[in-house]
Symmetry: C2
Subunit: 363 residues, 2 copies
């Protein structure tokens, strides 16, 4: 797999938020549009757990990105107006330094020698990119899902950048149900004998555990209501038993199987474990002792919080909490609850609902 | 482990609903109270997937049952008035014949040679018990969770028994989200190398897969709202990493671990797979071609449908569907949506909410 993203290299020791350091790590990113003369049109995007920086096609990589319909000439994130920058999270495996990368100090992959990852580190990776690009003011910081927490960390730690915040299907911190889901996903992977304490053969990774984790992920990324409309009790075969005795003939089971197959081999298992745990650990309240204290560190012109009623992983009440907390310190905050049925993933798949709202925010 | 439940033996071939047969299977049950002279005070209970027939303590087994606070002298299911009978589902491992039982025709455990299990078979197991007890009319049929579907099958196939139906946190059929959850739980077990195609050593069963499945179960048996109040982001240790690197220090993770430990060794893996799949397969609409046709086969005096707003596994709208369907054919139907925060398991743990409602139904 190629990672044609652009990269910056941090010069020297990158001190991690919780403990340890990385020696001269790389941060991958992609861009669309150009920085204007005033240097005030940069839009920085922090992603969810699994996407790369390839949010939309580029001349260097014409394949469709994960937000292809959102970024480009004439689209809501209009590359004719904005210099859009998408960051590949530190700890990921799409160009940025992560557990699958070679540790320059040892010549071996980091694996579990990678220090504890925090979303504050992901935020600093993004900051290093814009610093090296010479950007001193940000027009808008966008964070989707886990990226919304990285975006909060970014804005709290660099209030001088100013600008606006667009938080999409995210939260100020994880609640126990989401922690439980992610914890179980991690356990599925580490209990796969092939994980081997993190020292798996990269050509023969813990695919069984990763597939199980992906299926549980899909259940929390979509919604029961969507599946009810979409699949009902449809069968993919009239036979009672297909190739396996205990599953496989309901359409929803086939759907999950297809998604698990598609994801297999895409994401390094250890990187997944680190990013997943980082999502659990983030807590805005750690920045000052309370959520209120955390919010008070922000210096934003305006903010929009978009959430989806059917989101199981980042429930709508967490969007409300975010909007309420922002309202205390940001003069112009809009909360947009959307009645999409596709759950957490709606921002990726329900463009008809999201495009007009995001267009309005950038108008 | 002892199974001091009473048993009946079916005489000859018990023909299964979908295919195959069992030779002279056993059905375990327990009772409280006595059948009255008119023989019209029998209350029959069909259980959820994992409980035994030991719903409450008995002289023969004084340990607390799974509905200890509901059944007994002066309790809502008053053993001074009713002859209460709880059925251990066919296919289970607490006294009734199931995949872990010895097949009398081969002298070996059935394992995967057990025929496809349907909740209609569970219902017939219950019918055999009351037939052998000489009961010709039923006062009330109760079904909790999966047992609610068994109870529907029982009432549809034996309308001459008449009586009333009490459906608790159940459904007329499974929807795709619940199917997906159970399918993934089954996959966790069959992907455990120790499952060995169902031929595991009973002294060394696929505990890793069973524990993962149990944890996912707990997530769907309780509710995000309960866990938010109960655990929040509480840690059980101030250390960042406890014994494992990627999990363990959030209170909710410790809670799931405790529950998984408690369940380990309690339930046979193959029995679980069969009962889980049977829950997916049940569809009232198969009894006549539509839900309406299925409901029309009932001959009940009255019915009560209780559900919980926070139930993820048997959502409240399925309780509404059940109540609406029953209303067409049963003159007296009461739908009781309860605002419990403990999700699907509320009927087991939120006695303050359930006891008054069930008391009222039996008054």
């Amino acid at each position: 797999m190629k990672f044609p993203s652009k990269t910056v290299r941090f010069d020297g020791r990158f001190v991690m938020h919780r403990n340890g350091y990385l020696e001269s790590p790389t941060i991958a990113y992609e861009t669309w549009g150009e920085l204007n003369g005033k240097g005030d049109n940069a839009v920085i995007i922090f992603t969810g757990l699994s996407p790369s920086a390839h949010a939309a096609s580029t001349p260097g990589n014409p394949s469709a990105g994960w937000w292809e319909d959102m970024i480009g000439s004439g689209l809501p994130l209009d590359s004719d107006r904005f210099f859009v920058i998408c960051i590949n999270s530190l700890g990921s495996c799409f160009g940025s330094t992560g557990p699958a990368s070679i540790n320059p100090e040892t010549g071996n992959r980091y694996r579990l020698a990678f220090p504890t990852l925090s979303l504050e580190d992901v935020a600093e990776g993004g900051f290093e990119v814009i610093r090296q690009l010479g950007i001193e003011k940000v027009h808008t910081t966008i964070g989707c899902s886990m990226g919304g927490m990285s975006a909060l960390a970014f804005c709290i730690r660099h209030p001088q950048l100013g600008g606006r915040l667009l938080s999409i299907s995210s939260a100020a911190r994880a609640l126990p149900f989401s922690i439980a889901i992610r914890s179980l996903q991690r356990e599925m992977i580490v209990k796969d004998p092939k994980w081997a304490g993190g020292n798996y053969d990269v050509a023969d990774p813990p695919v069984v555990g990763q597939r199980l984790a992906r299926k549980l992920g899909m259940m929390t990324y979509r919604s029961p209501r969507e599946w009810e409309y979409r699949f009902g009790r449809e069968r993919i075969s009239l036979e009672m038993h297909s190739d396996e005795m205990f599953f496989g003939d309901f359409a929803v089971e086939s759907y999950l199987e297809t998604h698990a197959n598609r994801f297999t081999g895409q994401f390094d298992a250890n990187c997944y474990l680190y990013l997943s745990r980082a999502s659990d650990l983030f807590d805005l309240a750690e920045h000052g002792g309370s959520l209120k204290a955390g919010f008070s560190k922000l210096a934003l012109d305006s903010a929009m919080v978009i959430g989806v009623e059917t989101d199981l992983l980042f429930p709508i009440r967490q969007q409300q909490e975010l909007a309420d907390g922002l309202s205390v310190v940001v003069s112009d905050v809009e909360f947009v609850p959307l009645d999409c049925i596709k759950g957490h993933d709606s921002f990726l798949v329900d463009m008809d609902a999201f495009r007009p709202v995001i267009s309005r925010f950038f108008r």
